[in-house]
């Protein structure tokens, strides 16, 4: 009995260790860590603070873009952006009021956007199409109406 128990515990702990090794390898070696940007901003002065005083798509050349976006109840600004196929887009976002979440279904873009904090996440759009960008953190009565699109062509 106690032998079986020992085997079970060894296997259990072993599986968890292997699991941690894989997550660690993805995070540190492959650079797949979750969005964790640490810059801050005054949430009441977003419109006066660069780069959010002028939100929009910035062409960095080489089919790379930075999309500076503000989120507020219940809108993304700018909305309905267009990028070419294969574009690598770095989303730079902050909130002007409450907590929001940005999610693009069908991609790994999923990040919390909180007032006072600047969040960044990068995605390469390899497939053409009209992608839905939606808010996935409850932000008020109009939460279900907070969405926009990014068109890749």
């Amino acid at each position: 009995m106690s032998k079986l128990e020992e085997i079970w515990m060894t296997v259990s702990v072993g599986v968890l260790v292997i699991f941690m090794v894989i997550v660690g390898y993805q995070t540190y070696a492959l650079g797949m860590g979750p969005p964790s940007h640490k810059e801050t901003i005054d949430p009441q002065k977003v419109e006066q603070t660069a780069p959010f005083d002028n939100p929009g798509l910035i062409d960095l050349g080489d089919n790379k873009y930075e999309l500076v976006m503000t989120l507020e109840a219940f809108a993304f600004n700018p909305g309905n952006v267009e990028v070419p196929v294969g574009a690598e887009v770095e989303f730079t976002m902050t909130s002007k009021d409450v907590s929001h979440g940005v999610q693009i279904p069908g991609t790994n873009v999923n990040a919390m956007v909180l007032p006072g904090h600047i969040q960044k996440i990068t995605h390469t759009f390899d497939e053409p199409g009209e992608y839905l960008i939606l808010c996935n953190e409850y932000c008020g009565t109009g939460h279900q109406a907070m969405f926009t699109t990014i068109t890749v062509k």
Partner: protein, 559 residues
Amino acid sequence: MEQAKNIGIRENVISNLGVNPQDAKISLTYFTISFATLLIGGLLGLIQGLERAGLYSLPAGFNYYQVLSAHGLLLLVVFTATFTIGYQLANLSHSFNGLLPKVRKMIWIGIVLKVIGVVLAVTMIVLGEASVLYTFYPPLAAHPIFYIGLVLLVLGIWSVAFGVFINYRHWRKENPGKPTPILAFFAMGVFVLWFFASLGVTIEVFMIIPWVLGWVETINVMVTRTLFWWFGHTLVNIWYLVATSAWYIIVPKIVGGKHFNEKLIRLVVILLVVLNIPGGFHHQIIDPAISISIKFLHVFMSLSIAVPSLMTAFAMFYVLEKAGRKKGGKGLFGWFKKLPWGDVRFLAPMIAMIAFIPGGAGGIVNTSNQMNQVIHNTMWVVGHFHVTVGVSVVLTFFGICYWLIPHLSKRQLTPKMNKIGVIQTWIWTIGMTIMAGSMHLAGLVGDPRRTSDTTYAGHETALSWLPYEYVFATGATLLLIGVIIQVYAVFNMMFFAPKGKTEYPVSEPEDDQPKVPMWTERWGLWAIVLLAVVAMAYVIPIVDMIVNAPPGSPPIKTW
């Protein structure tokens, strides 16, 4: 089916202890509140399921988020908490041969505080002043009375918790050198964890109240989120610890077996208590302002909870197999068929335990960095906690009702009521499988949680979620039927079932077991270990959030 016939006529095996009548009154009061809440909360759940699928529109003046706020608060905070207290106090009364009179007084005070707190908080939600959901993340700012209600609710729980601690100390003093009965040990674990878990949210609410009253202008959003999850995730693990007390100690008796080595059981309780609180961090894996290294540390801290859970899986299969073989089960799986599947007192917790296998696996997905990023804030998460809380915990609670309530009300579990219980258990299982299963799938294709009915202007991605949403609504309908049957069963057993005696099924340890190690009773030490683990997890990130804080946020009402 043979078991079903035997239930209720087993007077000869009644434990000589049983629950003191005055304590039975306390537990029955808690169960009355608990199941009245379940009925309201369950109805609100169906309304949401139908609204989300676009099959029903709420009457003017009410909105989805109000209903969701009430559903979350009533079921996750009120139903489960009141059931837990009723059940744990019965266990204590049974183990200690009655509670102390002054402890009883503290518990009644606790009930009054909690009821006032809940009424205040729910009234604010109904009035549309607190559509802030279960998480009430600042800078969403509800009416001050909502938070005052939460404070009273926590004070009510503390009043019970301190009562339990006093009673425990008293028993230890009266019985020097004796280990506490195992169910009382579980109860200590539950209330110690509950007390330390609620510290986080208490600090948070005391940051919020002066802010919503306008005494301070702004609040630190990250700190409040972190303090919330210190409590918010630990809470569901408290229900899980409560459920395991029935799995380890009650189920073996019902299947005609004995409980597992008590040293391991106590070790599992201690591990669940000391390791649990940092688990809350995995709710913040995709937050800004927490470094990747801290998040990696928390993947580890969250996963560590899997160790005691895997120990539980081992112990339970061991106990069940042994009992099944004793009844003549042969071969690799013959013992499985010998288990009393027709006895609701076994069937419900057994399905609950089985559900913990996919539930736990889903939890591992949620705690890991990259997979969390795929499913964060999608319907997957809602599916996950309807499997873990909605089945593993709630079905265990339902199973407990069928022996505990008749025991407390001095009535019998009739074969007919047992049959109703078995049917209820299957309706619940099918309903949850359909609903939570489709929620998991919808989440994987991106359907966001906590969102009222929308197709995002007919976007094809959003339209592809609709079939899953119809399935949620179907599952939710079955679940409401399940709720109604369960509430009927509970009140029938409380007031109308035939008078009689019902056994309090507490299993005995196996023969030849080593002495229970007394070091397991050192709760002061476990509290220190718990605080050390919490400090490891929280000091660095919280200091960072305070030192590098942005200017704070003013209160905002967006509903």
